[in-house]
Symmetry: none
DNA sequence: CATGAATGAGACTTCATTCAT
DNA sequence: TATGAATGAAGTCTCATTCAT
């Protein structure tokens, strides 16, 4: 941080509050934008609403981000890259079984994605075709890194002889997680849905994925 | 239009051409609307564009559907409700194992939803919060019927002793299918994605779901 | 009537009904137009509604009246000129006191104007400025003849020494009558109004107009 | 705008010109709306025309009034509610004869309603049936308060023994006044009408109403 | 830096009128 | 003569963006 770090208790007096507010502006604007983009979608979110939610005026928003589209890209960068980097760090440092790593990653993801950030997927899926420039950006910045992370964890299981080498697994793991986020942020926000994503459900899904659905006579302790 | 038009019965007299055009209009409009809604989203699709793609003027669209929202509902009914009804008919008439039924349903779905119809999910997920009236409509017309269909097929497997009674299974089956459609109609329409949903992939996913990911010593012929 | 007068019982058979309907079309269209113009106003009445109320199609309306404006003029001609001519005939044939004539004319007017015809005033007052061509037409066709009628009746009273020669009297007589029609066809159609125009009220108003409001000691039997 | 603008206090700094313009906008918009509503009617007046007449753009109008209907209500409140309130104040403070009060109220009304404001009646009468929400609003905001005012003045005359207790008097007083406004703003705007409402005419009408039309031998000084 | 009044292109929807049948 | 499908201009209202203060 800079020497004028606002968390410093020394009475730097007049100007500190202004400075702090000014320094915090971008984050406040990104938070407001994230919440509204997720709630209403990109095109349906009005610039003025973002500004109002961040406590500034319409004009001020344009001082920080030159257009609504740039604002959205900033939101994507700020919220998803960190999440993936954190997952990669966990995977690199992990030393247990592939199954344990998979469970850890999935639970971490569920916890971290519980907030509005998980709703970005909805926005991208919904509106990327109207803003084609976003597609490559999102693929490079989010999709491929996330895929590398999952594929790596599974490959570790295959290498250790834990997992069968089945190709669609990453797709399936990602699908169930993201799909759930999508539901929560769309229909689930309007009507009451039957399922909620809690830790138990993640375990059930992993258990199902790992052991399969078929009941076979000679399985022992397959179900948790 | 021409006198030798084979679909025109001899001497059908008054208004034959007009009638024939009128009769075809609803389907033409629904097709145009489906394509544009999937490509651009509901809110971003202009009524006039739909009309133009169907080869008529703006006003004509409103002769057939009183509002853009009603047009969208008609698209959903025409493309999804019918698909689900067809699946229910298959399930009711089916007499084999639950696994076979599950495979049959999923393959049927993949084939029928291969076109733009599968993109409707994207539209709903993206914009249902901006058009709350659509939420209940979609839940009643699509989500719950589809869930009944899947749950019924799985219950048959449980009743016959084929399947373990695991609650999140329907959710998982639906997730992988719909999620794939979402990807195809969003990012997949902009950049080249690694996976394509063909019949082989559906079987692989089902195999994975049925037998599980873990490699176990005493499994014999787990993969079909 | 023509020899093919449909009321003739002789079995003129096939063709009579068609002829009758065709002959009646203009009147049916005028009736429908009158009702709707009064209810909704000229601009707010849709051509198709007029046609539907007359039991024909939109196109047929245009066979009889080349535009909505011409249709309106026909309605005015058909409904108001007759009423005024009838009043003039009454006045010409009348031989009693001026007060009796005034009462007779006002009661006749009230009875005849009870239907939708009295609503034409509302339409003209409301929309004549948007259709300036109507102004002179209406002045010549309706306003001046009606004024001649009233002024004539009052002049008779002045000539006979019954009435004081006060200029604004015709205006006042017309005002109270037409204003009441206006209220009935506007606010009165939406909410319940305190006053209703019945024969008693007409007499009260005439009494008031004739004798005045002030209570004077030496009047004998002035109030009914 | 200029530094020497007298209405601008010295050093009022930030936003003075803008502020001053903004403060004046509502009145400018109401004036423009009143003129156009009276001239063309409510439905036939385009929002953009109102804005243009007030010297602003279409969007600006919607910054001040959220819909055309609300704009109209604001016009009614500004022009009629205030007029009636003023009349009530006059009546409450008045201490002369009932006849004097009646004359004062009617003259005040004529003077104040001489402009476009009196044309609002025309708009309401013409279009209230197409905008039913306006009916109750107008009844509550204008009709009933005006009626209370007139009825109160007449009741004072009855209580003091000046007037005969005749029920339809308020209706007649209102009719002649409003009907005259209606004529002025409809036919009268297109062709030249014989009568104009000046102070003399008001007195003539009141004289007529108070003393009656009949010539009676024993009246002394009936006409003022 | 910050404001918020102002803009104007563009969206959905209506409806008088035409014209092929 | 009668129909009604089709048109397209015109209306209300929204909102991203600008700019004077």
């Amino acid at each position: 941080m800079s020497p004028s770090d606002p968390s410093s208790p020394a009475g730097d007096g007049h100007g500190a509050t202004r400075r702090r507010r000014k320094d915090a502006r971008p984050q406040e604007l990104l938070d407001a934008a994230l919440a509204l983009f997720v709630e209403k979608g990109f095109a349906a979110t009005r610039s003025e609403e973002v500004a109002a939610r961040a406590g500034v005026s319409k004009g001020t928003l344009y001082l920080y981000y030159p257009s609504k589209e740039e604002l959205f890209k900033a939101v994507v960068r700020r919220n998803l890259s960190e999440l993936i980097a954190e997952g990669s760090a966990i995977a690199d440092a992990f030393e247990g079984s592939a199954e344990s790593l998979l469970r850890l990653l999935m639970h971490t993801w569920r916890e971290r994605a519980a907030g509005a950030a998980s709703g970005i997927h909805k926005v991208v899926i919904a509106e990327v075709r109207s803003f084609p420039e976003l597609a490559q950006f999102y693929l490079d910045e989010v999709v491929l890194p996330a895929q590398r992370l999952i594929v790596g964890a599974l490959q570790r299981g295959i290498d250790r002889g834990e997992f069968r080498p089945l190709e669609p697994v990453p797709h399936l793991l990602i699908a169930q997680t993201i799909f759930h986020s999508l539901c929560e942020h769309s229909l689930g926000a309007c009507v009451s849905l039957p399922v909620t994503m809690d830790a138990t459900l993640v375990d059930l899904q992993l258990d199902l994925l790992l052991h399969g659905l078929l009941r076979r006579p000679n399985r022992a302790g397959a179900a948790k």
